[in-house]
């Protein structure tokens, strides 16, 4: 029989030896950490197949939204992409689960945060990782601002813009046009006549040079999309159940709602005048734009206008017919296929 002392000494050495193993990043990566920048503590979730060393960094919308919509839902295209590559879900400053300060809410600060995250990803997972950026809505604005810096752009293999809102005054004009044109089509077809008349009347009264009216136009667009969803023109979004998100996910819905309200208020003035169209010519990496045909909030006509402005020789626009602003959740399978193909072609 071992004496007690021998046992404890032996256990001590076993622990020492076991602790000497070099940490390997397994192919099946599931990581969670925080990045702190100017008093904002931002969660990051890193999930997926590490073997190809290909990373897709998802820039969520808002500002003040979350990257955890339909998180790890089987139908979520980002979840499916995790089979082939690593998806990075980053909760931006004053968004999602992020805690800490909501000061310094400017586009330049978000860009600084993004650059820090990219430095961190390269430090943690290797400087040879292949990074793709995907920006949805506000995330599109953030991605374009980031990529317009040629030094930053050199770190990125490809850019995917999804319903990106990088020229708000122009978008507001097109929103109004689309609400009126689609509204009239729906009225002629005898669908939701009262609702559309109300929307068209209201849209005609709004003065998009005023900030409050500009955001009211956006609210009308949301209303229009809901009507189209109800009549089956667009697919419903895939979502996790409220029950799942509230009780079982890493998301804290109380924090998410608070962040969204704070961001909307603090970023209002800067958002209303954002215009990055002139920066598109600086972006020379491959570009994929994915849009919903019934995206009232950022109309597909805007995507068509902006596509030609990109400096890239390899650029494409895909418009999905049963989708609105959240195209990744309205037609997740088609979205997944297009994004996967783009990444594979540009590795």
């Amino acid at each position: 029989m071992l004496s007690k002392n021998t046992f404890w000494i032996g256990l001590f050495f076993v622990c020492i030896l076991a602790s000497c193993n070099k940490m390997n990043v397994s192919n099946n990566l599931k990581d969670h950490f925080f990045i702190e920048s100017k008093k904002s503590i931002m969660p990051v979730f890193v999930n997926g197949n590490y073997s190809s060393k290909t990373f897709l960094l998802y820039l969520h919308g808002g500002p003040g939204g979350t990257s955890l919509d339909a998180y790890q839902n089987n139908e979520n295209p980002f979840y499916k992409l995790q089979n082939d590559l690593v998806v990075v879900y980053w909760e931006q400053r004053c968004a999602g689960n992020t805690q800490g300060s909501c000061d310094n809410l400017t586009l330049n600060q978000y860009v600084e945060d993004l650059e820090k995250l990219i430095i961190l990803l390269q430090s943690k997972y290797g400087s040879d990782i292949k990074l793709f950026l995907l920006g949805h809505s506000w995330g599109g604005t953030l991605g374009i601002k980031y990529l317009s810096n040629t030094l930053y752009q050199s770190k990125i293999k490809g850019w995917i813009e999804v319903g990106g809102g990088h020229h708000v005054p122009r978008i507001a004009t097109l929103e109004k046009e689309m609400l009126i044109s689609e509204g009239n089509k729906e009225i002629l077809a005898g669908r939701n006549i009262n609702e559309w008349n109300e929307i068209i009347t209201k849209a005609n009264t709004l003065n998009i040079t005023k900030i409050d009216d500009l955001f009211e136009m956006n609210r009308l667009s949301v209303q229009a999309e809901n009507i189209m969803k109800q009549n089956g023109t667009i697919n419903s979004k895939i979502i996790n159940s409220w029950f799942h998100d509230y009780f079982f996910s890493p998301q804290d819905i109380s924090i998410t709602k608070t962040n969204l309200a704070l961001s909307a208020e603090k970023m209002k003035n800067e958002l209303a005048s954002i215009n990055l169209s002139d920066s598109l010519q600086k972006i020379e990496i491959p570009v994929l734009m994915v849009w919903g045909k019934y995206d009232f909030r950022v109309p597909p006509k805007f995507a068509q206008e902006e596509l030609i402005k990109y400096g890239s020789a390899k650029k494409d626009l895909v418009i999905l017919d049963k989708s609105a602003h959240f195209v990744q959740f309205n037609e997740p399978q088609l979205f997944y296929e297009n994004v996967k193909l783009f990444i594979e072609k540009n590795l």
């Binding site: 702190e36 004053c94 804290d252 608070t258 704070l262």
Partner: protein
């Protein structure tokens, strides 16, 4: 400095009923139970309760005590609450009674994961553990059922449901969390 004052005050006030006990008409109890932030994010709670003047239970409706709870919100944070509390009995029927309770004290949010910083030269560093202090207060309803062994009142089973707030989580805004807490409170001294 302010956070240390809140922490020390909370611990002191939590233990005060224990320190101050001298009346042999008081009933003192220790409790242990499940604490669930948003019900399903699991944790445990240890509690101490004092019922001054237990002999006149029907007349005296106040109790006071303290709680210490720890819970895990997976892939988010670990929460630690230390709070003195006071309760007022609003209903008593046979072996059952209901209290309205409020507590106030110290909360600490431990981030579940490394917290990285990148300096202006692009140097990455991290803290293995990182926590932020907050002030907390809560309000809840406590459903109790008295347990007896022969004629001795040995304790309660309880169910608490309510809300607690932690202050200054985002900017100066606090966050409110619903929670559930249930378990067993064992009396330390017996009264008939």
């Amino acid at each position: 400095m302010k956070n240390y004052i809140i922490l020390v005050s909370s611990i002191f006030l939590t233990l005060m009923p224990l320190i101050a006990q001298s009346q042999n008409t008081s009933l003192h109890s220790l409790g242990f139970g499940y604490f669930g932030e948003k019900v399903t994010h699991p944790g445990i709670q240890l509690s101490y309760q004092s019922y001054p003047n237990w002999i006149n239970f029907k007349k005296n409706k106040f109790e006071w005590g303290g709680n210490m709870s720890v819970y895990i919100h997976n892939r988010s944070h670990v929460g630690l609450r230390i709070t003195p509390n006071i309760g007022y009995r609003i209903l008593h029927f046979k072996k059952n009674y209901i209290l309205l309770k409020t507590d106030v004290g110290f909360f600490r949010r431990y981030y579940q994961g490394k917290v990285y910083t990148i300096d202006d030269n692009g140097i990455v560093s991290y803290k293995k553990s990182f926590a932020t202090p907050h002030f907390t207060y809560g309000i809840y309803t406590s459903f109790r059922r008295k347990l007896f062994y022969q004629t001795n009142f040995i304790g309660n089973i309880y169910l608490d449901m309510g809300f607690f707030k932690e202050t200054k989580v985002i900017d100066h805004k606090g966050i409110t969390h619903p929670y559930i807490n249930f378990g067993f409170i064992k009396n330390l001294n017996y009264v008939k």
